[in-house]
Symmetry: C2
Subunit: 314 residues, 2 copies
């Protein structure tokens, strides 16, 4: 007696959608089965948010679901021309990752300030070598990205006494415009990228940006890999034009085992996990169920992406 | 024309006391020369706060300085019976280390929550292995020690959303008494020791204390080494009765290169550096100069240690 068909892309780990029981038929798909299932879908849940399967499946013939939800904050993989032009509503997981990612960035910044990696390395060598470290309070951060993740990052850093400037697409109250970024970089101790990946932001952290940062500064990317020209970041680190960096996201994920990034001096590589605290999958499923309740009741959805901008505005 | 003689114990790195120029004769001493210089000292500045030289020099005959200042927060090395019984005023470096140590503990707690050591280890192996980490907000910390360092640690953790209980010698407003500690330990995610070393606190973190902590909990010591029975901490870690620990202080410093602590699983060893941010030596010298100004003017000193309690009260 299910009224609706919900197609789920990806099932690793399996998604639990108990609240849809009896209300929707849930069909799990993969890249191979998605094209055949898509025409019969009322709703598509992109559970494997790293899949590119929709890129191949969407342009096909036949009806398309009226609502696509992705279990991720970034929607860059879903901004396909045919989907953007369509009437299909796109929603995302805005909100689930804010506090976890802010804490992760706080962990990185404090670890850099206190040279924890140096401590671990010296411990491996059984060497007692006292060093002076940095005081975090009073330092300056530039956070690029003013969605809820960027906001949460800046607020956590402020709570630690850091002076924070936020940079968004355009200037507004409390936010500097992207055109002001070059002037802000030289004074920053910490530059954190939490921007959405759009044509305007792709490759924004390049040789020119790193050249404007201080040699004592650290760079952190928790947005999307292609926001950074990683070869140019690597060059800046090798030439000690930057003190260090942390990348949680990459152009290709997983990062290939022969990538030069793994052993770039001063670079911390983590496997796209900054927002993934214990229970995050449950939080994502519950959030989709909440939005499904609205959809089934004919109410407006939350977290609706502006497909032209590439993120949820406001 | 100097009126006073200030004897400095230790000169590595050299102390700069520019504001004493023309007002006091500054004599740098070491363990060998201290006994001969002590009778002529109006003031003793213990610059090398890890030295035990005073233990041998103080009981000797002759006059003793009326004021001893130590460039450290802990005064345990100076609580010699003859000094405690004497009229000599003892002051310490209370205040200089509060914020730096709080930040250091914040770095450790966040690094544990986000498994940064696991990330470093996997990076060395060029392995991409996603893990779920802990959300810090909403966890519980017990901070043992309610001097300004313990206060600052708890306040920083609170700013990160942690629920903090402080434990002091006796219960008072906002502080639990030491007798309540056993009941607080089972619910703590983080137990931080920032207590002074006194006969009452020596060895307080022992097998019984670790047995009351959760297997998912972490322990941090930034106080003094002998607050912890390190063999019993090591046993708890080896038997996985604790998730991890960080020690910045040890019974013997520097830690011997053959100590079993260096490669204890889950233990981070750092070389007594939690409070030592860039410029800390200057801050210590300036603080002594400030107190010297008071002393020379006949005004009451600040940071006066209660020699019976073993710390600056209030």
């Amino acid at each position: 007696m299910s009224e609706y068909t919900v197609v789920v892309l990806g099932d690793t780990p399996p998604v639990r959608l108990d609240r849809l029981a009896g209300r929707a038929r849930v069909q799990v798909s993969d890249a191979a089965s998605l094209p055949a299932l898509l025409p019969g879908a009322d709703v598509l849940l992109v559970w494997d948010f790293q899949s590119d399967a929709l890129r191949d499946a969407w342009p096909g013939s036949g009806p398309r679901p009226g609502w696509v939800h992705t279990a991720s904050a970034g929607v860059d993989r879903l901004l396909l021309p045919d989907l953007v032009e369509s009437e299909t509503v796109l929603t995302n997981a805005r909100g689930v990752f804010d506090q976890p990612i802010a804490e992760y960035v706080g962990a990185l910044v404090l670890a850099f300030a206190k040279d924890l990696s140096g401590t671990w390395e010296l411990q491996r060598q059984r060497r007692w070598r006292h060093r002076e470290t940095r005081r975090l309070a009073g330092t300056r951060a530039v956070v690029v990205g003013v969605g809820p993740i960027g906001r949460a990052i800046g607020e956590l850093l402020r709570a630690l006494g850091v002076r924070v400037e936020w940079v968004g697409r355009t200037a507004r109250a409390g936010v500097r415009g992207a055109d002001e970024l070059p002037d802000l970089l030289p004074d920053a101790d910490w530059v954190v990228c939490a921007a959405p990946l759009t044509p305007a932001t792709r490759g924004m952290f390049d040789r020119a940006a790193f050249a404007r940062m201080a040699p004592s500064a650290y760079f952190v990317n928790v947005g999307r890999g292609p926001l950074v020209v990683t070869d140019e970041l690597r060059a800046a680190l090798l030439e000690r034009r930057l003190a260090g960096a942390a990348l949680d996201v990459f152009e290709q994920e997983p990062l290939a085992s022969d990538s030069a990034l793994w052993d770039t001096p001063g670079l911390l590589v983590s496997p796209h996990m900054s927002g993934d605290t214990v229970g995050w999958r449950d939080d994502l499923a519950r959030q989709f169920e909440d939005n499904f309740d609205r959809w089934a009741a004919g109410e407006p959805l939350f977290n609706v992406v502006d497909k032209r901008l590439g993120y949820v505005p406001g």
